[in-house]
Symmetry: C2
Subunit: 264 residues, 2 copies
Amino acid sequence: MEQDSLISRVPLVRVKDYLVEQAEDEVVREVPITIFLNDQEFITVVCSPFSIEALVAGFLFVEGIIADRKELLNIKVLPDEGLVWVETARSTAAESLFLKRCLASCCGRGRSTFYFMNDAGLAPVRAEFTVTVDQIRALNEEREKRSVTFRTTGGTHNAALCTPREIIYFDEDIGRHNAVDKVLGRAFLDEVPFQDKLIFLSGRISSEIVIKAARAGVPLIVSRAAPTDLALAMAEKLNIGVVGFVRGNRLNIYTRPERVKVDA
Amino acid sequence: MEQDSLISRVPLVRVKDYLVEQAEDEVVREVPITIFLNDQEFITVVCSPFSIEALVAGFLFVEGIIADRKELLNIKVLPDEGLVWVETARSTAAESLFLKRCLASCCGRGRSTFYFMNDAGLAPVRAEFTVTVDQIRALNEEREKRSVTFRTTGGTHNAALCTPREIIYFDEDIGRHNAVDKVLGRAFLDEVPFQDKLIFLSGRISSEIVIKAARAGVPLIVSRAAPTDLALAMAEKLNIGVVGFVRGNRLNIYTRPERVKVDA
């Protein structure tokens, strides 16, 4: 099996009507990756087994553990062991910070939409960003094309970080959140600016996705699926545009409609 | 808006070709619920806004915070405030236990399949349990019927706890994990045994779902969707049967095939 394969072959018993057949089939892979931060065991995430460096960088970035590329001194992935060693400049209080966040953030957040955002320490995104409806449609076609050809699909989620004109980063994961962390992490590693980009994802826009966008400073989230009401309430306050149900010639603009230009 | 409504109405701008229309549409609700455990703020989970008592009981149970119904002295839901007050008999070390688990479990788990399970403190399920293919098909029909009629659907996940003959508990949530926690929590509150039941869910069987089943002692997990390879490896070791892709007259048996009888 290839180390970065999305798919694993497993034996199974296939039943059709009352006919039983021994068979073999493909199932999607899921691997635990344990992050050691400054020689301390820190967290284990379960993910699709590729783009691990990007995933870890993105996770540490959107969770607020590192804020700047310069703080990330070293990141080393040992894929066979499922281990990632990370060295950061900011070693002080990293664990207690994380534990607080673990309670306040990765397992859920806040007491209401207001506290939710306050606890997460987020500020509204400041960006003059616009995209046209035609550009969104073109990006959606490109995203769907890549989701077919990128890897053998196993019903995974995908995410892309895009300028209005093109996809800059594209990735997949069994976890909707991981796919977003991977593309944000790659941009973080490359020190690419976020305020002139949009996140395009295949799955639902939930509150956690809005928090990731806010942390990175991305002004627009676009999806072929739906947003939740909490995601919309937070996006409104964080000055983030939300576009959903991008399918063929249709789309819905939920927040910050001024970010989307409709011109024939 | 009803307190337990799955759906919220929001304004939006609908674009079709280059036609722009102000409209209103339904989006799925997502609410943060903060659990106070023995007067300490404990965790916030994001979920669909109903069956909160079951969700909280199930979460505390499958995360190992409470192991027995008698340990749960009081549970009070304040739906308008998004707060749940829980009083347990085992107040000692509950928070540190949770923090350890938060690192080891709810944000991911272990270093490999082996450590994964060891860290979670799980033992193989001991149960003599069988179900027939016809019973699985009948349960699937019933589950699909309920998922249409239960609430206006918003593309949520559903889960059921069943005997071979009937669905005992059924619930829905925007989170796949939450839907399972809700049905396990309701059974826990009612002190219903688990070793003669199966979990039937609409979504993917990932490693976390196997851990929940193992914690409760449920011997079989059935889904209309696929399992992951890690879920199968863990289920094999934990003596849990996994059946996937239950659709019409077909199904796949991945682990413990002796639990499923194929008789015309």
